[in-house]
């Protein structure tokens, strides 16, 4: 108890004696007595409390640094261990597996002398891998970028103080609450060349030229998938941007107006730069969704979407769970991990340098 109050006291150096009053009261005498003193004894109690605290600090000064560290352990150690074991431990273990030749249904021998990068070499020589890697990159970049753009536009529109703002916000966000299984099935119907909404609409408008076999034509397959994903997630980007926009004081808009900036210029020069943090967090989450596009592709095309829309995640699943090539699957997973890191890391680092993280 004493220790805890000590920590609390140090955490809040500016906190006044009255705040700590009840805690200090518990130190020496029973709390009831302290409160039973009544308001007339208030001044005296405050003075006494101050005295006790000073005495304590002199006693604990010797191990101040280490005790800070030690005493904060209960707060950060459990999540640290859980994350370390279940996330980073799993990634590390996966990396170890990718160094072995683990395939089939016999567990590998984890012999350090046999570890090699054969699986990565195999990946580099595998045309399927390159197609999948390319598709993954395209999906990651195009999806994230377009999602942010759409989200920002929607957010700016919704931020104009329109009527039924909440309704619109809900409508735009709703698709995100649907599972990939639902949206994949749903878009498979939308893209149906005979009865699907898209082709039917196009031919109603006399645009028969544009009616395509959206998800079976290899040229449009990936684009069709990306479009559907954007539909699902631009609402999320909108919500994040909307929060960012709301955080910008009205003065900034007014100041820009007074300085004679056009609307476009105002957003470009004044508002957008202030949305950096929103962009950052939305982009990271969207990229994670792009990697999770596995579910979407799996529901739409089965475990092999074909070269036009194959991504590393589906390939990894096939290699590991279809062909029992566990080590190869792990190697692909590590490449996927490195790709995600490569996209996120520079941005994170830039933010860190800027002091915004």
């Amino acid at each position: 108890m004493q220790r805890l109050t000590d920590v609390l006291r140090r955490l809040r150096p500016g906190a006044g004696g009255s705040v700590r009053g009840s805690g200090a009261g518990g130190e020496g005498e029973p709390g009831q007595t302290a409160s039973g003193d009544g308001s007339d004894a208030g001044d005296e109690r405050l003075r006494a409390d101050g005295g006790v605290a000073a005495a304590e600090e002199t006693g604990g000064r010797r191990s101040l640094l280490s005790s800070d560290f030690v005493q904060s352990i209960p707060f950060w150690l459990p999540p640290f261990l859980l994350m370390g074991f279940f996330v980073y431990g799993a990634i590390g273990w996966n990396f170890v597996i990718s160094l072995t030749d683990f395939s089939g249904l016999v567990l590998p021998e984890y012999d350090v002398s046999n570890f090699d990068l054969d699986m990565y070499r195999q990946a580099l020589n595998d045309p399927t891998f390159w197609t999948a890697a390319q598709n993954t990159l395209v999906l990651l970049v195009v999806f994230t970028a377009l999602c942010l753009v759409f989200g920002l536009l929607l957010a700016i529109l919704v931020d104009q103080g329109i009527r039924f703002e909440n309704t619109f916000r809900t409508i735009y966000l709703l698709p995100m609450s649907l599972s990939f299984v639902v949206t994949a099935k749903f878009w498979a119907w939308m893209y149906n060349p005979e009865i699907g909404m898209i082709n039917v609409t196009l031919s109603q408008l006399g645009l028969d030229v544009l009616t395509l076999q959206w998800i079976s034509n290899p040229d449009t397959k990936l684009a069709a998938v990306i479009f559907a994903l954007i539909w699902q997630f631009s609402g999320y980007a909108m919500v994040v941007y909307l929060a960012g926009l709301r955080a910008i004081p009205d003065d900034h808009y007014e100041a820009a107006r007074v300085d004679g900036a056009s609307t476009l210029k105002m957003y470009w020069r004044v508002i957008l730069p202030q949305l950096r943090a929103s962009t950052m967090s939305a982009a990271v989450v969207l990229m994670v969704f792009a990697l999770k596009a596995f579910d979407f592709l799996y529901v739409m095309f089965g475990n092999n979407p074909g070269p036009a829309a194959d991504i590393l995640a589906t390939m990894m699943f096939r290699e590991a769970f279809g062909s029992n090539q566990w080590a190869y699957g792990s190697a692909i997973a590590i490449v996927l991990f490195a790709m995600a890191l490569a996209v996120v890391a520079p941005y994170l680092y830039a933010e860190y340098r800027r002091g915004e993280l």
């Binding site: 249904l105 567990l107 399927t128 076999q213 089965g302 074909g306 036009a308 279809g322 062909s323």
Partner: protein
């Protein structure tokens, strides 16, 4: 029993006990828990009740004079035709072996992809279930190579006249490496050509007279010029249906030897046969429903039901949809011929139950597999599943006209080949490569490129 307040408490306990007895189907509760002899009777009954209430799948046998461990069976029949079928099977098993406790542990997901993942993990950790639903044949090769399956040539296949009553094809699939490791339960045929009677009659096409897969192109052309229907309903949103179709065309254009040679990896030696069959499939694509690329096989089959397509190639599980459609009758509205050029051949897709090593319940598993291989089990399971029994001595009374015809075809077939798509003929690794090739094929329809990939599939 508590002696104090007999009126209230005891009546509740009586009720519990009665419920327990009812659920368990036992007369005496003593010895219910096997080894735990020291336990109080009433408590035992209460516990048992809660347990069987909580896990619905559990069916418990009574007096366990022979100590069987709980039989854990995993399968993917959680819906469609499979669910009632496996239920009927386990009911029969409970009647035959009331003292074996069965724990079903189904993992849903069509074609068993999810189950397969679970099983692989458990087998890798040497913690397999007692048995599980698995495609037999080459699909089990990795398990055999890892020495994870046991020889049941005597303990199971030696019983019930199984060896005498299974035909060579299914037996072949049950011993991928020469020793019996699994027991096939049902057969779905792959080399089917379903057709809508009214559409082909309107077009003036006689499906029975189509001799070769190539002739089917002409028949479909006639259909499209004479009627509003498309020639063939098909799905190309995922590759498996087209792999099946192509393998069947290969079988129809050549013979069983060539088909088996391909499955054994002799692709280059059969280049002409392979490219020609791929080309035939490409020719078919002119007559497919326009939305083939975005529908599932059930949606494609719906076009047969709606008189919108003439022909349909699929495993005979497709007939389940016709059976469930009121007013769509066999022979009057839909009919079936073996795929052109494959008469006398029965292309097998089977489900089976293997016997893993390190079995948690060896005796119970042996009894279960014996039961799976029995006439009783196959007669219960197959009519509901819409498949035919691999045993030839199962009476056909329960099976309905279509399946009876399939059974006749099967029993009189000259040979039975194993499905490539369903992993019976090809081990998982090349099978996955073949699927890769076909996944490209269904979007680019490029014969040469696909042939190149197929040739590499076995390396």
């Amino acid at each position: 029993m508590t002696g104090t307040n007999d009126d209230t408490d005891v009546s509740r306990r009586h009720y519990l006990k009665a419920a327990g007895a009812g659920t368990l189907g036992v007369t005496g509760l003593a010895g219910c828990m096997g080894g735990d002899s020291g336990q109080d009777e009433t408590t035992t009954a209460g516990e048992e009740t809660t347990e069987s209430d909580a896990t619905e799948e559990t069916t418990t046998g009574g007096d366990s004079s022979t100590d069987y461990n709980t039989l854990e069976v995993q399968h993917w029949w959680t819906g469609g035709d499979g669910e009632p079928a496996i239920k009927a099977l386990f009911e029969g098993f409970a009647e035959a072996y009331p003292d074996i406790e069965v724990k079903q542990n189904p993992v849903s997901g069509g074609a068993g992809q999810n189950l397969e993942t679970v099983i692989k993990k458990r087998v890798l950790n040497d913690n397999p279930p007692s048995s599980w639903q698995a495609w037999p044949g080459a699909n089990l090769q990795p398990y055999i190579e890892a020495d994870k399956l046991e020889d049941i040539g005597e303990s199971v296949w030696g019983q019930n006249g199984m060896k005498e009553n299974y035909l060579e094809g299914p037996k072949e699939a049950a011993r991928p490496d020469g020793t019996f490791v699994t027991v096939p339960l049902n057969i779905h045929r792959i080399n089917n050509l379903f057709y809508n009677v009214s559409v082909v009659e309107e077009a003036g096409v006689d499906p029975a007279s189509i001799e070769t897969p190539g002739d089917l192109v002409d028949a479909m052309e006639t259909v499209e010029s004479e009627t509003d229907a498309v020639g063939m309903a098909h799905q190309t949103s995922s590759a498996w249906s087209t792999t099946q179709l192509w393998a069947t065309v290969l079988l129809g254009e050549t013979d069983v030897e060539t088909y088996n040679a391909f499955a054994e990896g002799e692709v280059a030696a059969n280049e002409e046969a392979v490219t020609s069959s791929l080309q035939t499939v490409v020719d078919y694509t002119d007559y497919l429903n326009e939305d083939a690329g975005s529908v599932s096989w059930t949606e494609a089959n719906q076009k047969i039901l709606n008189d919108e397509a003439a022909f349909f190639h699929q495993g005979d599980w497709a007939a389940g949809m016709y059976r469930n459609q009121d007013g769509f009758e066999f022979e009057d509205d839909w009919d079936h011929v073996p795929f052109p050029g494959t008469e006398g051949v029965y292309a097998l897709n089977m489900d089976s139950f293997p016997f893993p090593t390190n079995n948690p319940s060896p005796e119970a598993t042996a009894k279960f597999l014996q039961y799976v291989g029995s006439v009783d089990a196959q007669e219960r399971f197959n009519p509901l599943k819409g498949s035919i029994p691999p045993r030839t001595d199962v009476p056909s009374d329960e099976f309905g006209p279509f399946l009876t015809r399939q059974m006749d075809d099967f029993q009189n077939s000259d040979s039975q080949v194993q499905s490539i798509e369903h992993g019976l003929a090809v081990p998982p690794n090349p099978k996955s490569n073949i699927s890769d090739a076909m996944a490209g094929f269904i979007s680019n329809w490029n014969v040469d490129k696909t042939y190149g990939q197929l040739e590499q599939a076995f390396n």
